[in-house]
Each structure stands twice: as structure tokens, then as C-alpha cells.
Amino acid sequence: MELTHEEILRYSRHLLIPEVGLEGQKKLKAASVLVIGTGGLGSPVALYLAAAGIGHIGLVDYDVVDYSNLQRQIIHGMSTLDDLKVESARQRMLDVNPDIQVDVYNEIFTSENAFRIAEPYDIIIDGTDNFPTRYLSNDLAVLTGKPNIYGSIFRFDGQVSVFDGKEGPCYRCIFPEPPPPGLVPSCAEGGVLGILPGTIGTLQATEALKLILGIGEPLIGKLLLYNALDMSFDFVKLRKNPDCKVCGPNPEVTELIDYEEFCGVPAHDHESGSAGADWDITATQLAERLKHGDDLKIIDVREPHELAISRIKGAELIPLGQLASRMSELDSAQEIVLMCKAGTRSARALEVLHSAGFRKIKNLRGGINAWAREVDPSLPIY
């Protein structure tokens, strides 16, 4: 394949680098990369791969652009609010570089479609935001022999590695089991410094270019640990687990499965904010009961710094992480309504109390955000 005169001008700064040159740029043009997730990590990955001239890029995401995404998902904007994220991303990528091919998959990535979606691509980039999909992407990468460029973030911490099951360890070698649900909150619950996925995603894109060009030292067998507050970059060695169930010599995983049960959390729609119809109370219902003078206690399981954003008068704060050790402060004979931001943490709090024998408990469905929508519009939604 040859580069056109326009392409030579476009990529001139690449062509000037001896390690890239004309041959390197042709490799980038011939490459095909699948980006799973077009959110915080996917945004810089997709933008930079488009800019670099990766000839064929696939994007997977089932979601639409939400207002609170714009704090960090820089590929999207006000002009594409509520649009499909894959379409929003593709539009932006083609604005940067109309010469590339961008294919979009507006689907939830599952064991049913993963092989089909990944088939045309040589490299997989994990830009997902949950454990089940990460385990699935890893299995896919190992079973198809494709490298999986891993990146993950939490608040101020990020991790990057290249899991190449043939040459080095896979994700499962390092993380054979996920942490229990609730220990590591999602970005929606725990928050994230908006700029963090920018750093980590750009590092993932860097690894993709290195693999395609065959230059530098890829992070195979190494884990990069980044902390934005310390500005620390630590590297640890990763080794193949000889007993790995996925990439070991006696694999137990020989076909794709979905990992929701393994991880104890849903791979998507984790913001359902409900504990199930029997255990939910809506904001409107709660407001009526309070107006009625019913004797019930509202327990707010959010973190102290969230009170400054919005609060319900009379609610008592017991952060979710402290609930188990502070249950003795609660009277199981009294009706308790648990609440948080959106109903997800309070649903978990309900399970904690239920396991301890509490029965007169309810989850405020949709959390204080629902209260703001239905009962007290003077409160902000966040």
C-alpha cells in the first residue's frame, strides 16, 4: 500500500522520525484496533489512534452521551448530548481524520457477540469500566491470540499493561478473582479526577502504536502504577501464572462466558438504584409518609463530603463503609429508609442490614437525586 500525497503531508511529523518513517506509517494504516468502551479511557485512545492514522478502528459501547460524562470523556460534547456514544465518538474521530475507517458497535459486549465483533481486529484495547467486561475481554484476547492493552482508573490511581497471553501473563494471571462487590466503587459512585483517564488512555494508545510499529519496550510482563497526587510512576513485574485458568497449559476457560455472577455485579446498568420492588420506596412516597408524621428514620449512607451538595433534613449520616460496624446504633424495631446519591449504595446497605436480621427497611429508589427530581427541585442533581 502507498500513502497519498495528502497522507504524507498529514503524517509528516511521523515520517520525520527514523523509528517510524514511511514504512511505520504504512503499518499504522494497515493496522486494525478494537476499542472497547468510549468513555473516560476510550476517549483519548480513540482520538489519538485516529490522529495517528490507524487505518481501521472499531468502537464498542451501548450507552448514550450523558451530561456528567463531559467532565472527562473528551471525545463527546454538548453537540452530541444524548447521542449514541459510538456515533458521537466516530463523528469526532472523522473530523480529526476522515481518511480512516471507523466501525461502530452499539451493543453490550457479551460472550454472545465478542468473537464476532473482535474478529476483524488485531489489537484489543480495554477501555471498559467494570470487572465483568474486563474478564470477558481478557478471555477473548487469550482465546483469539490478540494482545489486550489494559488500563484502569480509580480516583487518582491508574494502571496500564499489555496482556499478551502468548508472550506474557494475561489479566487473570494477575487478578485471578475480582474484589467483592462494593469494595471498589464505580466512577459514578466513587468519583474520578476527570483528567486521570486522559493520562491512562493516552498511555494505552502509546502502547498500541509501539506494538504496531514494533518499536520500544511494550508493557508486556510489566504493570505501570500511576498516582496523580504523588506524580509517581511505579513499575512492577508481572509473570504468567503457571496455573492460570485462561492462558495456562491446562486452561479451564475454553469458551467465552459472562462474568456477572463471578464478579457479583452487573456489567452494565449498575446505576439501577433499586433494591427490588418489595424493598424500594419512591421519593414521592417517602415525602408523603414524612408529611403524615410517620415514625421513620432516614439513614444517609453517602460520604461526608457529599452532604455539601445536597441533603435531606433529618437524615442521619452513616457512610456505607461504616454501616456494618455501626449497626448497633440502629433500632431494628423502627422503620429505616436507606438513601444515597442514586440508590445503588443504599441498596447495598439494605442487603447489609437484611443479612443482620433487619426487616423494617426500605431503599430510597433513585436516591437523593430522585428526591431532587420529584420532591425538592431546589436541590441539585449530581
Partner: protein
């Protein structure tokens, strides 16, 4: 034997918000015991009921996974640096 142990962000709430703590012990196992003695609420996040390190907890001595050294019996030297690598999934 004093070594420093780096606590990953998701576990800091159980270590009074600290990112690094000094721990005593001649082996990795002893250092971990000292850690959970200092911060009892950390125990259930690191250990199973059978007092084994939970599989999602990755512990590194310097840049080596202790699983590839001698596990909890790995000996420590003064000034060694232990790090718990968190399982995080945000994106």
C-alpha cells in the same frame, strides 16, 4: 525489622486514610499481621476466614509479586518496600 507498606486508594479508608504505613516483621506474613493489628478493619479486606490472603490482593516486595518469591514466608530486610496492588476497574 521495619518496612514500609503502600496502601492502595480503595483500602485507605480502612487504614485511617494513610497511603503508607510502617510495619514490623521479619517476613511478609509477619508484616501483614502487624498491619491488621494496627488496622483491624483492614483484615477482612485482605484475608479470608481461613486467614489466607484473598486472591484479588496482590502484594509486591519491590517490583516482585510475593507469589513468585516465597509468599508470606518471604524474608524482609530493613528498608524494604511492600506494596498492595489494588484491583481497580474504572474507565
Amino acid at each position: 525489622m521495619t518496612t514500609t507498606l503502600r496502601i492502595p486508594t480503595p483500602l485507605r479508608p480502612y487504614a485511617q486514610g494513610q497511603s503508607e504505613v510502617a510495619v514490623q516483621g521479619a517476613t511478609v506474613g509477619e508484616a501483614l499481621n502487624d498491619l491488621v493489628n494496627q488496622f483491624p478493619t483492614l483484615k477482612k479486606h485482605l484475608f479470608t476466614e481461613a486467614d489466607e490472603l484473598r486472591p484479588f490482593v496482590n502484594l509486591f516486595l519491590g517490583d516482585e509479586d510475593v507469589r513468585h518469591l516465597q509468599g508470606v514466608d518471604t524474608p524482609l530486610k530493613e528498608g524494604d518496600r511492600l506494596m498492595i496492588i489494588p484491583s481497580i476497574a474504572g474507565g
